[in-house]
Symmetry: C2
Subunit: 195 residues, 2 copies
Amino acid sequence: MSTRSAEGGERRPRADAARNRARLLAAARELFGERGEEVQLPDVARAAGVGMGTVYRHFPTREALVEAAAEDRFAGILAFARALAGEGGDDPVLGYLHHVGEVLESDRGLSAAIEALRGTPGSAPLGRTRAELEEAVSVLIEQARRAGTVRPDVTVGDVHLLVGAISATVRTGSGPWRRLVDLTVDGLRPRPPAG
Amino acid sequence: MSTRSAEGGERRPRADAARNRARLLAAARELFGERGEEVQLPDVARAAGVGMGTVYRHFPTREALVEAAAEDRFAGILAFARALAGEGGDDPVLGYLHHVGEVLESDRGLSAAIEALRGTPGSAPLGRTRAELEEAVSVLIEQARRAGTVRPDVTVGDVHLLVGAISATVRTGSGPWRRLVDLTVDGLRPRPPAG
DNA sequence: CCGGAATCGGAATCCTGTTCCGTTTTGATG
DNA sequence: CATCAAAACGGAACAGGATTCCGATTCCGG
């Protein structure tokens, strides 16, 4: 009980630890983003100039590293969703899905993270972002509903469902995800604008 | 050149080989259907009462075994599609997607096979079934188009895309696949029948 | 019944994620 | 600045599972 106050206090990490963690994340973001799941832990360790022990000191499991590396992608998507809400456009849900698809396309590790998230109840860092994202998306839906671009019964869960489907499509390269979005979004619309 | 005619002749397999292959397929169908990808090759070998060497004599790779085990599911789906075409209903595409979803739900190994198929250009046994399936589905689409239940621009590729999405949704258990079908199929309809 | 080819079984190998532990680095203290 | 315990490090050892190898066994045409 000398330098730090009471119990819950997270002690500031040692300088080398912080440095290595940062290097690991940088390497992981680069490699996973480029090659996706096929990247092996030893590769990441080597790219970060670090031993395997260090990898596991910072991330309890491979999956955790994948998630951590994807974290700022989620943050980016969240920011986008909020900006979209601010713009007040007519079809924010479509815009959101397109954006998610594009990000997925540009970062092959993100879909891995999305899938990994299924198993995890609430991962510490992402749990919060996830909740905020849910909130932001529901705002988009509400907005779209008012503009008449989505059916009144569409929920946040539905949008998540579609994101999952898009993610799988991009990950497996099983087809043009934009087409999937188009097919589905037309299904989201309450009625054709008659034109 | 004694018992068999010329070059291309496939010689009849030895009795024990045929028996073991059948046992392997039976075991694989049962185990993969029940537990999906998490089943391990040694389990299948044990269940079939066969050694690992035998597994690999018959199937060059785990993936090949998964595919072979799923083969008659594909055949069943093909048969269903043809029957559906025969019935001449109004919305055969919806019926097809529902059926596929149900089969996927009942056999956890099928989605693994579907995904495995992506990598393979033309696997000998499935290549044929795949082509026939494509033909059958295009008949369904044509029929639905005439009935006005799908947009005129919907293609076989679109339906495959949706099947892939459904498969991923079922496999990861990431949500209610029926809802996904509903959302999407509404997107397939040309226009609300005004009523 | 024989002989050789086709199969078989399962141990050995290889590849990867994960764990362990002796060594090194950090930073609070005197 | 020197000291020392705690924290972090590196990389070798381990573990689980797919795949390969090869000596032993089984089939089948003659």
